[in-house]
Amino acid sequence: MAVAEIQFADYIFPAFDQIVNEAAKFRYRSGDQFDCGGLTIRAPYGGGIDGGLYHSQSPEAYFCHTPGLKVVMPSNPYQAKGLLLAAIRDPDPVIFFEPKAIYRASTGEVPEQDYELPLGVAEIVQKGTDITLVGWGAQMIQLNKAAELVAKEGVSCEVIDLCTLLPWDRETVADSVRRTGRLVISHEAPLTGGFAGEIAATIQEQCFLSLEAPIARVTGLDTPFPLAHEKLYLADYLKIVEAIKTTVGY
């Protein structure tokens, strides 16, 4: 059972062929005779550290396009331990993206003992009735801040942390959107080809008649990650608040 760290996620691409063409297909290619023996690849990802274009990217969508992989992105210490233990013990290859911007900023009570959190299960961080907010990793901080701000104006947000992107928990998100009728998805990665597009497409298929407004995406910009204008690039809570207001007022 190998747990490999690639630091940072921006530098994972030389291994892309081995991960996508070899590791991800090993079980299928061998007719389920072999697996990767529990391969987990840890990679710190994301912006917020003024790291410029090679130390800030969020490459999760590249890997979510690959059947045979699992893609996990924790947002707090409790999830990090439970999901990493589950990832290490999973027979299939798992890419475990760690939000480096909150490595030290995110703190909480964590059991000393051995425990696992199930892969592919989302967490409803906060119940709400007016709009569903979906995100993962460090972006959950921005979503929670936005939910707190609009709550003062009477907007009740249901906040969902996907935790695992591949496979992602469609049922939890769809159930929520059927109740709220509105959805905002947010990630740090650029808009085009980002994982929010997959979620939006699935939810409009499953919840079309429940939707009260177009699904909104609040993401990084379609540019290389900037050297000097990180704050303009990132999808912060103020941009999310604007999207919530637009969606609720549609």
Binding site: Q7, N76, Y103, G108, V110, P111, D114, K127
Partner: protein, 86 residues
């Protein structure tokens, strides 16, 4: 090993480490939690091998470095191994 379902305090939590009397908890940051998971995995199964640069060493000061464990391999240590194989 226990299977828990959600983070403590989350809206759909039905089991949590904090609420579970069988679990003792410590306040950790995310990096310390990652290290704790690696330690736990290696203790539970000697076949678990950790490889990499291990950023954790430089920032999680209160934790012993993960690379001090027997079944970890720093990336620099891999280079002679790979040379020998070639």
């Amino acid at each position: 090993m226990n299977t828990l379902v959600k983070s403590p305090g989350s809206a759909n939590s039905n089991v949590s480490g904090v609420d579970n009397p069988d679990m003792t908890t410590n306040k950790m940051n995310l990096l310390q939690a990652v290290n704790s998971a690696l330690d736990t995995a290696m203790k539970a199964n000697p076949r678990v091998v950790c490889l990499g640069k291990i950023l954790a060493n430089s920032v999680a000061s209160s934790e012993p470095p993960v690379t001090s464990k027997k079944n970890t391999v720093h990336c620099a240590a891999l280079i002679p191994l790979l040379r020998n194989r070639a």
